[in-house]
């Protein structure tokens, strides 16, 4: 059984089981309030699933792409929860959770704010039904996203699917994502040329 967390768009928490599927899933499309929601969602998801933290075998988490501040809340929570139960973190590219369950090729698009989007291109699902990411995730102006495949524009990341994808990757010995946040943007900061004059 896995706990699954994603805050790359809204806030989502789920408890999933390889055989029994999604046992509990809570999700809010609100693109703010991640830090406020995450605690109640964690407690509520475990309660609804009737699962104690010690029964979990790991914590799946969406590594983005997503806006920095919210994205970090979920990753911080996942890492701390995993540390608390001494089980591993299972990092997943959030777009892969959106593509999981589809069979046809497509381009997943999510909001990156500042009039930009994150996108990833997927081929047809593989023989196990797992997503095959061919390009991305990448950052682009909406007009620059490829249009040669069906666009899958998603306002939220299905966190139950994210957990089940983690279970499937684990079951088939497939690699997880890298354990680093997919910010895709550098911090907003410019090196100043030096102190400005104060006298004319």
């Amino acid at each position: 059984m896995l706990l699954a967390i994603d805050t790359s768009a809204g806030t989502g928490v789920a408890v999933v089981d390889r055989d029994r599927g999604v046992l509990a899933e809570l999700s809010s499309p609100d693109t703010r309030g991640h830090a406020e929601l995450i605690g109640d969602y964690l407690r509520e998801a475990l309660e609804r699933a009737g699962v104690a933290p010690g029964e979990l075998s790991g914590v799946a988490v969406g590594m983005g792409p997503g806006p920095f501040t919210g994205l970090r809340v979920g990753i911080a929570a996942a890492r701390a929860f995993a540390l608390g139960i001494r089980r591993p973190v299972v990092p997943i590219v959030s777009h892969d959770a959106i593509a999981f369950g589809r069979t046809a090729p497509g381009i997943v698009v999510t909001d990156a704010r500042r009039r930009e989007v994150y996108w990833s291109r997927y081929g047809a699902a593989d023989e196990l039904g797992l997503p095959v990411r061919l390009e991305g995730p990448a950052l682009a102006k909406p007009d620059d996203v490829p249009t040669d495949a069906e666009l899958v524009d998603s306002p939220l990341v299905p966190v139950g699917a994210l957990g089940l994808l983690a279970e499937a990757l684990s079951a088939h010995g497939r690699p997880f994502a890298a354990d680093e946040p997919l910010y895709l943007r550098s911090p907003d900061v410019t090196l100043s040329a030096g102190p400005k004059r104060v006298t004319g």
Binding site: A35, G39, P53, T69, R72, A76, R79, F81, L83, G84
Partner: protein
């Protein structure tokens, strides 16, 4: 010593701090700083700090537990800074603390960063009790606040704070215009060695009679920074050498003077014969020296926690959490967020 075993998490600025205490006994105080990453920018970049917190928090937690020799399942409570501070940085600690609390079934206390600085005093090795009421002067790169503390967990009042730059920020900015690296405090301290603190009379912000009504206990360092810049530019424009030691010593004197003048005025006005210092600027040799001289002259008891507990750290958050647990306070709910402007009257967030 006995008392509740509490783990504290602090991520309000550029230090990722995890501390563990048992009551007033310090068991571990581990800090990972992203200061070096900010050096090239001349100041703390919030997004850089927040990214560093996310990467440092796990290793810092592990190291603190190992140093303290305790297991997570032994903890009586977890405490976390919910504000004030940088919102994005605070959220890393808040998200992690909530998850850790639920994963381990440990009660969670959301506490105030500034009151935490006062709480650090209970961890002193000499076991001297924090006597109350006390005036507390908290000075760092992010804060310059003067508090009246009647009770650590129930009665803290903000007397004044900076209306523009924090004192630590002023050190960084003046260091920069003098061509010295970041962080400015230790650089200015070094440059001031052998300099004459009375060589240049730089302004003391908000100390004029007209300001004392509205801003008796408030601070302003923006005008001081500009005055230093103007003075240095005039020298350079005239083709003269800038006497670095004198400028550094005179600037540092202006900061220390105004900090202590206002703190001691609060002690006198309010009849409180105790002053506590906290925050990273306490590392400044002249600030400490002047505090010792002036409090001694006025018969005011001075307390300065060890430097490792003055800069931002998780142990002070744990210590404040332990005080709340001992007083029988209920844990915070899970709905609190990061509050970048949390007032000092909110010692514990609901």
């Amino acid at each position: 010593m006995t008392g509740p075993l509490v783990l504290g998490i602090e991520t309000s600025c550029d230090e990722t701090g995890v501390g563990i205490v048992r009551g007033t006994e310090l068991l571990a105080n581990v800090i990972a700083s992203s200061m070096d990453e900010h050096a090239r920018y001349g100041g703390v970049v919030p997004e850089v700090a927040a990214r560093a917190h996310l990467e440092a928090l796990g290793p810092t937690l592990d190291e603190a537990l190992e140093r303290a020799g305790v297991r997570l399942d032994e903890l009586d409570a977890i405490a976390v800074t919910s504000g004030p501070g940088l919102a994005g940085a605070l959220m890393v600690g808040v998200g992690a603390a909530k998850a850790l609390s639920i994963a381990t079934g440990t009660p969670l206390y959301a506490v105030n960063h500034l009151v935490g600085h006062v709480g650090a005093d209970v961890l002193r090795d000499d076991r001297g009790e924090l006597e109350l009421p006390t005036i507390a002067l908290l000075v760092s790169g992010g804060h310059t606040s003067l508090l009246l503390v009647r009770d650590l967990i129930s009665d803290v009042e903000l007397l004044g704070e900076t209306i523009d730059d924090a004192a630590g920020e002023a050190f960084d900015k003046v260091a920069r215009l003098l061509g010295l690296p970041y962080p400015g405090g230790p650089q200015i301290d070094r440059a001031a060695e052998g300099g004459d603190p009375r060589a240049i009379r730089f302004p003391r912000g908000l100390t004029a009679a007209k300001d004392l009504d509205r801003h008796r206990y408030d601070f302003s360092f923006s005008g001081l920074k500009t005055a230093v810049a103007r003075w240095v530019e005039q020298k350079r424009d005239a083709g003269e050498d800038v006497p670095l030691a004198d400028v550094a010593a005179s600037f540092r004197e202006a900061v220390a003077d105004v900090l202590l003048s206002k703190a001691l005025a609060a002690c006198r006005d309010l009849g409180v014969p105790r002053l506590l210092l906290g925050g990273g600027v306490v590392a400044n040799a002249r600030v400490r020296e002047l505090a010792q001289q002036r409090t001694a002259a006025e018969g005011i008891a001075l307390r300065i926690p060890p430097l490792s507990l003055c800069t931002d750290n998780g142990a002070m958050i744990a210590a404040l959490g332990a005080q709340l647990v001992e007083a029988g306070r209920a844990p915070s709910g899970l709905g609190f967020g990061a509050d970048s402007t949390l007032p000092v009257t909110s010692i514990q967030a609901a």
